[in-house]
């Protein structure tokens, strides 16, 4: 029973953490974009505009609830939730700090350690498509439908290189062990030789591109191209329901950064993040937080600098460039594992 209670507490903590993260990621992005544009960004609500996200949230809640007459009501209302829930749930297997030992009790800073952790990421990412497809379909609007079809095709296409690169990363877990593992916690606890880090970082740009496409971020924000689709799948949404789609996108950015931080940059590992000490979890979470914020900076930097690409180029890039490259990387990794590792 105590496991159930502990899981409930951890889940609540995780959701609160992600929502706070979302709120201040919007602030972070607006401030950063403003800097890139030589503007000031939000600075009215509270000191340095720090209360701006809270003001936005309150505004969204007190908006009028509009359900247009031509939509499919049930799906129209459920779709934003279907978009948000996977974004919240996917974080469950990511460790955010080393274990804390108090007397005989060990507190682990992840919701679940499952034996198929990495596949869990792929599974939840694959159902995250539904919110957008259904939101666009139920809106019964040409722009929305086109936007949602585009998104669906984009998200499923980029799941292929994502899966292939995950498989390559799993292959590397064979090195120095009896067998490979799918658990993120075990991957983090396994020491890697220096050349393996270099080899992994070679895959990082490809992985980052798939994460950009999976979370529909610029330059892959084709679902909402305001100049041709006037916001795409979410054009008929307003108020809190729009906010939930928005939330899902930003939380998936946070999750994407957390996944990359864990797989490519050692997650919470860093100087003084010693497991088993009282300060370990605090320092460890600090490292994790810094790595995630640094990766989020890259997301926003890309948005500020790279123009949106055309839709046909987007799909062709995935099928003709990224997928073959990922397969090649996978094959080379397999050769390294068998002949070197």
């Amino acid at each position: 029973m105590s496991i159930v209670l502990l899981s409930i507490l951890k889940s609540l903590a995780l959701i609160i953490l992600l929502l706070t993260g979302f709120a201040y990621l919007t602030y972070y992005e607006r401030k950063l974009l403003a800097r890139f544009h030589v503007r000031r960004g939000p600075n009215r609500a509270g000191p340095f505009g720090l209360l701006q996200p809270i003001a936005d949230a309150v505004k969204a809640i007190f908006k009028e609830e509009i359900v247009p007459g031509h939509v499919d009501k049930l799906i129209y209302i459920v779709a934003p939730a279907l978009s948000l829930i996977p974004a919240l749930v996917i974080f469950a297997v990511i460790p955010i700090a080393p274990d804390l030992r108090l007397g005989g009790f060990t507190l682990q800073f992840h919701v679940a350690d499952i034996n198929v952790g990495l596949l869990y990421l792929a599974a939840i990412a694959s159902v995250a498509t539904y919110g957008i497809i259904l939101g666009g379909w139920s809106s019964n609007n040409n722009y929305a439908l086109l936007g949602s079809l585009r998104t669906a095709a984009q998200m499923i296409s980029y799941e292929l290189p994502f899966g292939l690169l995950l498989a390559a990363i799993i292959l590397t877990t064979n090195i120095g062990r009896e067998a490979g593992t799918l658990s993120l916690i075990e991957i983090l606890n396994q020491p890697r030789p220096w050349w393996l880090w270099l080899w992994l970082w070679l895959a990082f740009p490809m992985f980052f591109i798939t994460m950009l496409a999976e979370s529909n971020r610029s330059p892959f924000d084709l679902p909402e191209t305001e100049n041709e689709l006037i916001a795409g799948f979410q054009v008929e949404y307003g108020g809190i329901k729009f906010a939930l789609f928005f939330m899902a996108e930003y939380i998936s950015m946070i999750t994407g950064s957390a996944i990359m931080a864990t797989l490519f940059f050692g997650g919470w590992r860093g100087p003084f993040a010693d497991p088993g000490t009282w300060y370990g979890p605090i320092v460890g979470f600090g490292w994790f937080f810094l790595k995630v914020v640094a990766l989020l900076f890259v997301y926003i930097w890309v948005r500020a600098s790279v123009p949106r690409i055309r839709y046909d180029q987007l799909l062709q890039f995935c099928w003709k460039v990224l997928t073959p490259l990922s397969i090649g990387y996978l094959v080379l990794t397999a050769l390294i594992v068998v002949f070197v590792g």
Binding site: D72, I75, I114, N115, V116, L119, Y120, A122, A123, I124, A125, S126, V127, T129, Y130, I133, L134, W137, L145, L149, A152, I156, E159, A179, G180, L182
Partner: protein, 169 residues
């Protein structure tokens, strides 16, 4: 556990009924999704975790998406979907359903082991055990699977080509 199983079985049944009874094909597809997800959780309960996750990735994440695509491609609300079905299609449906029921009864006639752990599979649904079983003991079916996938790929292209406008030069 029995309570969770009962709840999942009920959800799976509701989903299956929804597929058949919905007038709107999108609702049918979503009911199917519900059914698939309930089964995925059941697989995990039977210590076949890998199968459960694959069920989500392939069935929920790919096949239902394909159904939704097709529904959107042929235009959401099809009034003609129920009409114009030929008699032999109905007959084939009844025969296939009867055959399936028969197979199911044969399967159920034997005493069922409860979960992978109960049949002595090493480490339940461990992915590594599965890998060794698949890539050492069952290598021929595995290689044949690639031929099957190749055939499906060619079939998909041929079918799609038929509905495509000829290339403009």
């Amino acid at each position: 556990m029995p309570l969770l199983f009962a709840a999942l079985a009920l959800i799976a049944l509701v989903g299956a009924a929804g597929v058949l009874l919905s007038r709107n094909p999108v609702y049918s597809a979503l009911s199917l999704l519900l059914n698939f997800v309930a089964f995925a959780v059941m697989y995990v309960m039977l210590s076949a975790q890998f199968l459960g996750v694959v069920q989500i990735i392939v069935y929920a994440g790919a096949i239902v998406v394909l159904f939704l695509f097709v529904v959107m491609l042929i235009g959401g609300n099809l009034p003609a979907l129920g009409r114009g079905r030929r008699a032999y299609v109905r007959a084939a449906g009844v025969i296939l359903a009867a055959l399936f029921l028969l197979a199911l009864l044969f399967g159920l006639a034997r005493p069922l082991p409860n979960g992978l752990a109960a049949v002595g599979a090493p480490d339940g649904g461990s992915v590594q055990a599965l890998g060794l079983a698949l890539y050492v003991d069952h290598i021929v079916p595995f290689e044949l699977a690639s031929i099957l996938l190749l055939t499906a790929m060619l079939g998909g292209i041929v079918l799609a080509r038929r509905y495509q406008a000829p290339p403009k030069d």
